[in-house]
Subunit: 736 residues, 2 copies
């Protein structure tokens, strides 16, 4: 092992749990290069024995020397007078300085793996690895680095050892020191919601509390904190993206910025007692990832997060996990046309006691037998796999905002929802129903009912569930992203595997690539989606693929054709900021194996020519090409359908079909689509769905006009298509 | 409704959540008399509209005018800047003053009911009731009083109403103003343990923190708080006992004493966020009870707590709930002779990953096949119903003190415990095994496994489980007696009903009479029991029937014959402070339908003559007589066996057998036992187990000597027996 001489040039040593800032001169560090030589990682100890790392792309510094480590809670004191009146502990344990390096190991890895579903059928996982064992007071910690050509992953590992078995993390102090005042595409750091619009600003302008978005369960963790995946762009044109991978049995990370030094420090989500990780060796943290590439398109093409997760742990997944294109009895409730609830007789419901059969229906219950059949009919007629039905079960009269423990039982339908008959009807038409489990964030109640609820799904032939976590978490004091809930979400996934159920959890933690290991994690929300209606900014879908989608697919629920919300409920006026062509584009630009056609059948019925794209578009892909991309501005992505996949959308495909989507922000834009990705020599029929002349997707602009036009042309790989995108507009192309 | 003029003479109005002290002159209150006219309740409002009650026995004031009411948490604020950085609420709601009286109702009740098991076969439930509806700001609250001849119960009820549906209790402010500086038999108020020795002192001398007892999960709630049931004695010879009944969906109560005014105020157990009750109307608090009698024996005879609970809610309970006399592979671990664990190879266990089959057994595992068979043989040979086996399942190597979530799975036996073969063997001998579920206080983990664990019990023919809650509660921040855990314990009971399983929960909340409604709550610990070995004070069992046993039976685990702990493990010397005769007495003085013979078969084998009493004594009773009693000093109780009960102990009984037990404190004592309770004219053979001459039950006294002698005499109802009890001694008599 090399001897290290690392000079601590200036150290502002402050209290353990606050941001710690050190300037490190890496004189003779351990270095690691990416397989292609693009990236260089340096690692060493500072003069005070703090582990520090730095990352460079060629000669360009990407992450300045940054500290690593932890503060642990002290030992419980349980035998003096004070400890009997308050939980008391010995002093916090400094586990971030005073280390020595014990050993290092190197490894290299190169494999190609095939996801069950995904943006492509083959993913290469190639990295060079370095694992450094550091020790303090006889306690060992491994820092494992994996350096890819597009980024770095590192994690802390705590081996089983006599001197460290159970411990409690008070703070993780991993830093990411930025080199200058980059442009950031950020949402506020929050322990309970991710459903924010993005702010595009300089790092120095990050003010989490000033984001204007409110929602029901919101707890901003610090005035200058942001969430991951955090996309940044340097003035030199580098794209830096910080996130985490394989978040299991550990709280989710926020990044707290010190505006003075432009350094981020991890800010983990606390539990009900304010601690941030109950650990038992052997154990490890999630991977902390720093992607750095010189082209925005490479961010979208990166599989860094998936590759840092473990291989599929569900041996028979290919037998029962499948992509899904679906419709749902949902948007009509979101748009206040109908309701989840059944009656207005009760302002307070007790499950098992409240007699719904004796109540007077308010007549606006969406999940009634006739309406569900109407959706089934339309879905079956148009090649959909499934129909989601929300509001099918008792309890919606008082489910929201009360931290009500026994809020739903997940098995008792409303009187007008015939679960047996509706499933039988759907199956007779080749459609499945998708189950809905809103937990109202009462996690323990959900766990109590989980086995019975999943068994009910098996009984009636549901194979997918949309779950939800709206409102403050129960048990009280826990947060949506604290370790308890991370474990809860994972428990639901692994229990679902036992029942061969696919899970699409909303309001759960942002994904971190776990779908590689558990492909029945077919979807997640974990960001602001279409349900925010007029609250979606024009640049939103140009940013999400750089941020939220880095960890896994999002159930964004596109496909809205009727932009005027007053048409559904006059009391809720306003236009959605989108053209119809843009709605179609999202099926390509926002990758998900679970794609919804969210609007109502009657709204599609008046635009069946445009709806044809939604019917045609695949939901599983053998290849994806990121043609044009700039976060916050525009995206153009082309994808080739996978043949023989298990969704109806792909079943008829032979693998030569391409679909292209393009979206822009609040600016209208002319983009050229180079078709050179097509098979050379082959002629394709391109059906182009584009913004009509005069279209404008800005919802509150007097010129708002979502109109589309459709044209068909014959093209080859040699062609380029010139596309005009309206403000907040887009286009979609199917190439057969 | 009468007009009230209640003068507030002196009011120290302080902040809502601190102790509030008012002096009330009840000029023209509502009054309620007990059916026999002994007790008088007065209720009215103070000048500031505070509901106040007072209780008298004849002319003697028992509870001085005492305030009632609550502070509620304000409404959640969720739309301003600050609310996004911290959970914020509007100001606390004063729901303890400013009331007006809306209406009052009266009722009377008199019934006799038959418990499934108990101290007698018939219990009379007779009270006069008064329900006062008070209102503030249009919100109604009912205060329901039930006045018995031996005490008062009252509760708050919140009806379903437009202006109050969901609310959060910050503090319950019910007061119990004592008239003077009574003698109290108290243990410290604590949110997490009840396993204290009692201090006997004046009220003014209560100093909770100065109790010398420590244990692993201890959180004293205030320097002057005590737990209930709190027994007091006035200098005039009244016995006052404060407790609660029917504790469901609400935190357990402590009593915080203001030493200056000798007034107790309720101090509920907080949840992880510090709140003390998440409520949904219609709802009610537990009953707050004040027993007052003029003879200590009447405290023991009182059924106030049971009567305030609801009738049996388990229609088929008589078919499968039954008293149990049992032995167990348990004391040998408690006494450090053997261990719960299986190996010393692992200091950190992960269930499902740790390979026990590959480990080296440490050779001291108590729950091994041979040892369990030995207990089964002895239990079968001596007429026991069951054998408890602890330490049968994987996970004991690191179960304690780590707040480990996945601590046990409750279904995986150690390699040397053949669950199928041992149950078959036991059943072939007419004995059942008793399951053991130590949760290590990881409540959510237990719930995850509960269905499978109970199903495993059904599969192998277990019909009773001892559960345990040692250590700090998970979810973090909750307490053993917070609302979350109260609901957890109750969930286990009701789930057990579905599986026809009887539950004996240790470290769970002190019982409050719920066994009337759910008789499968066959036992509880919830106090310092025999497992504390040398830590049991001589006066302990003379107090428990006045305190802990008021709420329901305790699994005290008596029957220790080998008092010298060094005989089991030389490293743990010391004598238990008891004579053998006293151990026998406890089977009568400490009523429980679940009685253990806790010592080892080999210790009984050398005293089979004394063991005969344990074999003979019934565990279910048709009649009980409290012959002599003074808390902290002595007890003599006689009970008549119930014929035909389902325990083997009672099966052979014809209903004429009486058993008498007597215990004393640290003082030797001569007591006369009047046998006039016997059937007149009938002659009985009395087998008397008594302290031998020279016996001394003080464990650390050089004269310690637990020796017994046995004699047989013929007696009738006209006889009196003169008994000598050694220091910390006792006697037992069987009358056939």
């Amino acid at each position: 092992m090399k001897k290290l001489l690392l000079l601590l040039a200036a150290a502002a040593m402050v209290a353990c749990s606050t941001v710690k800032q050190k300037t490190l001169t890496l004189t003779d560090p351990l270095t690691l290069q990416s397989p292609d030589g693009t990236l260089t990682l340096r690692f060493g100890l500072s003069q005070d024995g703090t582990p520090m790392y730095a990352l460079a792309m060629g000669e360009r510094e990407v992450v300045k020397p940054s500290a690593m480590g932890f503060t642990f809670r002290g030992e419980r004191i349980n035998n003096d007078y004070d400890s009997r009146l308050h939980r008391t502990y010995t002093a916090d344990v400094d586990f971030h300085s005073g280390f020595s390096i014990e050993s290092e190991e190197r490894d290299s890895f190169d494999e190609t793996w095939n996801p069950i579903w995904g943006e492509e059928s083959e993913i290469r996982n190639r990295y060079n690895g370095m694992t450094v064992t550091v020790a303090k007071d006889g306690i060992k910690m491994l820092i494992r680095f994996r350096l890819y050509e597009d980024g770095l992953g590192f994690r802390y590992e705590f081996p089983d050892q006599e001197k460290l078995t159970y411990f409690v993390i008070k703070d993780e102090l991993t830093q990411f020191a930025m080199t200058s005042d980059h442009t950031a595409y950020w949402i506020p750091g929050d322990y309970d919601t991710q459903e924010y619009s993005y702010t595009v600003s300089r790092l120095s302008e990050i003010k989490a509390g000033h984001n204007p978005d409110y929602n029901a369960s919101q707890l901003i963790c610090s005035p200058n904190a942001v969430q991951t995946a955090l996309q940044m762009k340097t003035d030199e044109g580098l794209y830096i993206n910080i996130h985490e991978a394989e978040l299991l049995d550990y709280p989710a990370m926020n990044l707290d910025l010190d505006p003075a030094t432009l350094t981020f420090t991890t800010m983990l989500t606390p539990d009900a007692e304010g601690y941030r990780g109950r650990m038992q060796t052997p154990c490890k943290t999630p991977w902390r990832t720093v992607m750095v590439v010189d082209d925005a398109r490479k961010v979208l093409a990166s599989r860094l997060i998936l590759n840092l997760n473990e291989a599929c742990a569900v041996p028979d997944a290919a037998e029962w996990v499948h992509p899904v294109k679906y419709m749902g009895v949902w948007w009509e409730m979101i748009a206040d046309k109908t309701k989840w609830s059944y009656t207005e007789d009760y302002h307070s419901v007790r499950l098992g006691e409240t007699d719904y059969a004796a109540s007077k229906p308010h007549g606006q219950h969406g999940a009634n037998n006739d309406n569900v059949r109407r959706y089934i009919d339309f879905a079956a007629a148009n090649g959909f796999d499934a129909v989601l039905v929300e509001g099918w079960n008792e309890g919606w009269e008082d489910w929201f905002g009360h931290q009500k423990f026994d809020v739903f039982d997940f098995v008792t339908p409303y009187p007008d929802f015939d679960i047996a008959a509706l499933n039988a009807y759907a199956h007779s038409k080749g459609v499945k129903l998708i189950m809905h489990h809103e937990t109202s964030s009462s996690a323990v109640n959900y766990e109590r009912h989980l086995e019975e609820a999943y068994s009910l799904m098996n009984k009636y032939g549901y194979d997918a569930v949309k779950s939800g976590y709206v409102g403050d978490i129960l048990p009280e004091g826990e947060h949506h992203y604290s370790q308890f809930m991370i474990n809860h979400y994972h428990y639901c996934i692994t229990e679902a595997v036992r029942h061969r159920i696919m899970v699409n959890a909303h309001e759960a933690v942002r994904p971190t690539g776990l779908c590689r290991t558990w492909p029945n994690m077919i979807g997640n929300e974990s960001a602001r989606g279409t349900e925010f209606k007029t609250g979606i900014l024009p640049n939103h879908v140009t940013i999400l693929p750089f941020t939220r989608l880095q960890g896994g697919p999002m159930d964004y629920t596109p496909g809205i054709f009727e932009m005027d919300m007053a048409k559904l409920n006059p009391a809720s006026p306003g236009n959605i900021s989108s053209t119809i062509a843009r709605q179609l584009a999202i099926y390509v630009t926002m990758y998900s194996p679970l794609q919804m056609a969210a609007d109502l059948p009657e709204h599609y019925a008046v635009h069946m020519d445009a709806f044809q794209f939604i019917k045609d578009v695949a939901v599983d892909w053998s290849e994806s090409r990121y043609l044009l991309a700039e976060p916050g501005d525009y995206l153009v992505i082309a994808r080739r359908a996978k043949a023989g996949a298990k969704s109806k959308a792909n079943l008829g495909k032979d693998g030569h079909e391409w679909f292209v989507g393009g979206v822009t922000d609040e600016n209208e834009r002319d983009l050229e689509v180079d078709l050179s990705f097509l098979e050379p020599g082959r002629t394709y029929t391109a059906t182009i769905y584009e913004d009509a002349p005069g279209a404008c997707g800005i919802g509150d602009d007097p010129a708002f006009n979502p109109a589309y036009s459709i044209r068909t042309v014959r093209v080859t790989a040699a062609d380029k298509l010139s596309m005009h995108l309206a403000q907040s507009g887009g286009f979609a192309i199917s190439l057969q």
